[in-house]
């Protein structure tokens, strides 16, 4: 980089080469790849004690007694805590979010019952194993996906097993289905997916002078601060969460209880406490993507025009609901995809079970419903002998058009047409017949395409706000504290690019800090594809204030001189907030119910093309390439955007072909990475990302969020490619070789032995 040292140079205007639009490596990139970076779980302190968790071995049972005497008597044990030791034994104000430590009933294998602190890790784990729990087993609810008839049989919570429902309709769906020339139905099952963040949950906490400081990964430091304060009966100001550097999240650190465990242990022991969950603990006890069963029907006329989209979805939230209702709400909104149709209906239910607790996961309810819709679109195109891209094109919402279910305008930055075209113009799609003609032996070749949308931010009516704070020092150094937090995507690097261009200063004048509740103003979750969009906009706004002050002081003057004047005048500190825009009008949604449906004003799109081979004899699938077109508005940091796209596609491949957290009658089957398979480097084909030109008028420099939508089209594109290759349209994810082989045999008319 050849940016001049401007400490004494004139600050004129925007630098000749803007930072926005440049691929800037993460500040920590070198330290990350060399292993030098110290993560929150690497943190140590003198006098530190080590913690371990005792977890339920039953999926559903009354706790008759919890006997900690043998653990307490073990040499080196400092503390053993159970539910009675938690001042307010709830993870938040809603009891359906579960207790901190189960004290009456356990509803999942792996649910936390007790915490142990000891002089070293081995002692802590040994003592945790000595805790004697007497269980009275209760009937197991296997969940609404695998055992829908059981939902009403045994209640896991006082109100029954239905944790939430959402329903909405526009037009007359039944009439449209009844008169359509073609109705395509998909009955899909999607599985529980584990986030597999590289760093498993953990960190450290210290108690000092009535305040607790926690170093632990979090996608929502403000929420975790409130959860800790609620459980410990503290004032939120007495809880400080420092939540990075951390190795990945993908949704798993949204409502992770580990910050609460750490605070509780530090509070009781008055010593620094370290806790780091193992991969097996995380796999069994950590949240998962909600498994869904979804029935999608689309009605199409002979010209390929959609007349109805009808979806019915049931989601398994596991023992507690946490994000479940919001996940279902997002499913409802995205159930009509990017398509315009006069008739649409969504009926959704989220239900409790004794399976893994489900929570937030990149895509947040969209991959589950988009799978069936997109597969139905591809199947309809095949039935009508239309190009699947053309069928979609005929039915796309245009920028400013109205959402098919809710009727609100989708915003002027919407680029579904351009995104689809970018993918469909790729040689993978144009030359799909030549690819198919090259099939050899049992390896049949196919190509599939799919499209998806995902709202950016929490949605209308939810008071979604990001904030930033800025201080300029006498030497001209600028510090910015902003959120949402960084959970591995190096968001602070991109925030700094925005700041540099607003201020017209070189990036090395600016430092950005995220993920510390003491310093960073409350900015909400690193979720809902909102960090770059909302956090970037807050940074843009706070920098605009300083820029105005600098301009007022006179253009062309040395920054240091002006900075010293601002400090002396008490004008060195600035704060700004960015409230995410609500929809311009709520359409069919009653205004008082806006927050319930929470439609978005801003959407991102992704279209993907997958080229693959299927072995007709064995059911194996081998991917040969993925094209990922993504509409991110203006990509602030294109390298980081492409990295997010490639990671999303890889996670989509896992969802489509490999990943299935299996539970049998409440008991985990896939308990670690030996049998819960994620794609490896050789299972992940070359991915070509196309950044679709666009501009989101409400976002910083035209940017909007994109990290979730890229995970959505991969599975339906893969399934459609399998359909094109074999004539079999897989509707149960993941498409394992055995599942596909069974479907291929059935299609060949071979009766199962």
């Amino acid at each position: 980089m050849t940016t001049p040292d401007t400490t004494h140079a004139a600050r004129t205007s925007t630098p000749a080469v803007p930072m926005v639009g440049r691929s800037v490596p993460a500040d920590d990139a070198g330290a990350i790849v060399s292993g030098a970076l110290s993560y929150v779980t690497d943190r140590r302190a003198s006098g530190m004690v080590w913690a371990a968790v005792h977890r339920s071995v039953h999926p559903h049972a009354h706790l008759r007694s919890v006997d900690t005497s043998r653990a307490v008597a073990e040499s080196g044990v400092i503390a053993v805590l159970t539910g009675v030791d938690v001042p307010n034994n709830h993870l938040g104000s809603d009891p359906a979010n579960g207790p901190v430590l189960a004290d009456q009933v356990v509803r999942q294998v792996g649910e936390a019952i007790a915490l142990v602190a000891a002089v070293d890790e081995a002692t802590a784990r040994r003592a945790a194993a000595l805790i004697q729990v007497e269980y009275e087993p209760l009937p197991v609810v296997s969940g609404p996906v695998t055992a829908p008839d059981e939902v009403a049989s045994v209640s896991l919570h006082p109100g029954g097993n239905v944790a939430g429902t959402i329903g909405f309709r526009s037009g007359d769906v039944d009439a449209a289905l009844g008169t359509a020339e073609l109705v395509v139905e998909m009955d899909t099952v999607t599985s529980a997916q584990e986030h597999v963040a590289i760093e498993t949950p953990g960190g450290m906490a210290e108690w000092d002078l009535g305040k607790v400081t926690i170093w632990c990964g979090s996608q929502n430091p403000g929420l975790h601060r409130r959860l800790v304060a609620h459980a410990l009966g503290l004032d939120a100001d007495d809880v400080r969460l420092i939540s990075n550097p951390v190795g990945g999240a993908f949704g798993s650190r949204n409502d992770d209880p580990v910050p609460v465990y750490l605070a509780l242990l530090a509070w009781h022991t008055r010593r620094p406490v370290h806790l780091h969950l193992s991969r097996e603990e995380t796999t069994v006890a950590g949240p998962k993507r909600h498994p869904y069963r979804t029935r999608v029907r689309i009605a199409v006329d002979g010209a390929g025009m959609l007349s109805a989209i009808d979806s019915r979805a049931i989601a398994d939230t596991g023992p507690y609901v946490t994000s479940g209702r919001y996940v279902l709400k997002t499913s409802a909104e995205m159930s009509v995809g990017p398509y315009a149709t006069p008739n649409a209906r969504f009926d959704g239910t989220v239900a409790y079970s004794n399976n893994a607790n489900a929570g937030a996961f990149r895509g947040f309810g969209v991959p589950q419903v988009a799978f069936g819709l997109e597969l139905a679109m591809s199947r309809a195109a095949e039935r009508l002998r239309l190009d699947p891209a053309e069928l979609r094109r005929r039915n796309l919402l245009r920028a400013g058009g109205r959402h098919s279910l809710y009727g609100h305008p989708v915003g002027h930055g919407f680029r579904a047409v351009e995104t689809l075209d970018a993918a469909a113009e790729h040689p993978f799609w144009r030359e799909r017949e030549a690819w198919a003609a090259g099939s050899v032996g049992p390896w049949r070749r196919g190509t599939g395409i799919a499209l998806a949308i995902k709202g950016v931010g929490m949605g209308s009516g939810r008071g979604d706000i990001a904030r930033a704070r800025l201080i300029v020092a006498t030497d001209g150094q600028i510090n910015i504290w902003a959120g949402p937090n960084h959970t591995g995507q190096a968001i602070e690097t991109s925030y700094r690019q925005v700041a540099a261009d607003v201020l017209g200063l070189p990036a090395d004048r600016i430092r950005v800090h995220v993920g510390d509740t003491e310093l960073v103003p409350e900015s909400g979750a690193t979720a809902a594809s909102r960090s770059m969009y909302a956090g970037g906009a807050a940074v843009e706004r706070v920098c605009a204030q300083l820029r105005a002050a600098l301009d007022e002081a006179g253009a062309g003057r040395p920054l240091q001189e002006v900075a010293a004047e601002l400090v002396a005048a008490g004008r060195a500190e600035y704060e700004a907030e960015f409230p995410l825009p609500d929809v311009a009008d709520p359409g069919r949604i009653p205004p008082e119910a806006l927050a319930e449906y929470a439609p978005h004003a801003v959407y991102g799109c992704s279209a993907q093309v997958v080229r693959l081979e299927v072995n007709r004899l064995t059911g194996e699938v081998r991917l040969h390439g993925v094209v990922c077109a993504v509409d991110a508005g203006v990509a602030i940091n294109p390298g980081a955007t492409i990295g997010q796209a490639e990671g999303g596609v890889a996670q989509g491949i896992g969802f489509a072909l490999f990943e299935e957290y299996r539970v049998h009658e409440g008991r985990p089957v896939t308990t670690g990475l030996e049998n819960y398979l994620v794609p490896t480097a050789v299972d992940t084909p070359p991915i070509e990302t196309i950044l679709v030109p666009g501009y989101e008028g409400t976002g910083p420099f035209g940017a909007k969020g994109m990290s979730e939508v890229v995970v959505v089209p991969t599975a339906p594109a893969i399934a459609a490619a399998i359909g094109a290759a074999t004539g079999v349209w897989p509707q149960h994810l993941p498409v394992t070789p055995e599942r596909l082989w069974t479907a291929l045999r059935a299609a060949d008319g071979v009766v199962a032995a």
Partner: protein, 282 residues
């Protein structure tokens, strides 16, 4: 963890002596998976023996001797090539990092019915060179395999080398649920000679993994596979069902294992046709 002693054997005779009272370990890649806490107290590290001998050498009788204590990546980079079936299996084995540690001896001694390297050894009529404080013995590979996790190796015995018969045509196909770091759901190794220029086959050997308590030689299918003509291949795919006793487990049903193995047999003509050319997809 307490009390474990790791002894490093610098010579074969030292290894014989030490193994009499402790358990041999070479790459240690299975030991780590099973967990160090589950390991026996005393271990003898055989990995330093590998550097003392050539990893692959040709014997006067034409057989190929392959070190059982050398890392797999050393074997495939040796100047004497190993039979294609073994090379294929090593290429599919775990991951590059594990291939830099894991050994043929460990893969045999681990006794897994899904062991990737054992089917190629079976179709190459491998003779396993076993050593122990009581001396050395040569054992046909089939006589070592007893059941899941079990072999006829006596306590204190370790595997020094395997001798492979020269085979003209051979190969190995693994069906795993992903393409690296996956346990075989089924696997098939083959070797044969081609007496003429047509599709006829002779000296056919077939061995399958993950479809019986041990890797199994599939003699009924061998008898049926007289040629690579569709009718003989179909007959072999049917006959192999009587050579195997697959079970349902976490990874797959017995029904699928049987069907997929039949599929691997049906692929053989295509695989054979592509031998010598690009084999990336096979």
């Amino acid at each position: 963890m307490s009390g474990r002693i790791l002894l490093s054997a610098a010579t074969e005779s030292a290894a014989d002596r030490l193994c009499a009272t402790a358990r041999p370990v070479a790459g240690g890649t299975d030991l780590l998976v099973h967990g160090l806490d589950a390991a026996p107290v005393n271990l003898v590290d055989l990995s330093r023996l590998a550097g003392r001998r050539r990893p692959v050498s040709r014997l006067p009788n034409g057989s190929i001797r392959v070190s059982a204590t050398a890392p797999l990546s050393v074997i495939t980079s040796a100047d004497v090539p190993v039979p294609a079936a073994l090379a294929d299996a090593i290429a599919e084995f775990a991951s590059p990092q594990i291939r830099n540690r894991a050994t043929i001896g460990g893969n045999i001694a681990n006794g897994s019915p899904a062991a990737d390297l054992v089917p190629p050894l079976v179709v190459c009529d491998a003779i396993v060179g076993v050593r122990g404080s009581g001396g050395r013995r040569d054992v046909p590979i089939g006589d070592l395999l007893v059941g899941p996790g079990r072999t006829t190796l006596a306590p204190g015995e370790w595997i020094e080398y395997v001798d492979l018969a020269p085979v003209h045509h051979s190969g190995f196909r693994k069906l795993g649920y992903r393409r690296a770091l996956a346990i075989a759901v089924v696997s098939l190794a083959w070797s044969w000679t081609r007496p003429g220029s047509g599709p006829e086959l002779a000296d056919v050997r077939l061995a399958a993994g993950a479809v019986a308590p041990t890797v199994v030689r599939c003699t009924r299918a061998e008898a049926a596979l007289r040629s690579l003509r569709p009718d003989d291949v179909g007959a072999a795919a049917r006959a192999i069902q009587d050579d195997i006793t697959p079970i349902d487990d976490l990874r797959a049903s017995a029904h699928y294992r049987a069907g997929a193995l039949a599929g691997l047999v049906c692929e053989l003509p295509m695989v054979a046709a592509h031998r010598g050319g690009k084999t990336e997809r096979l």
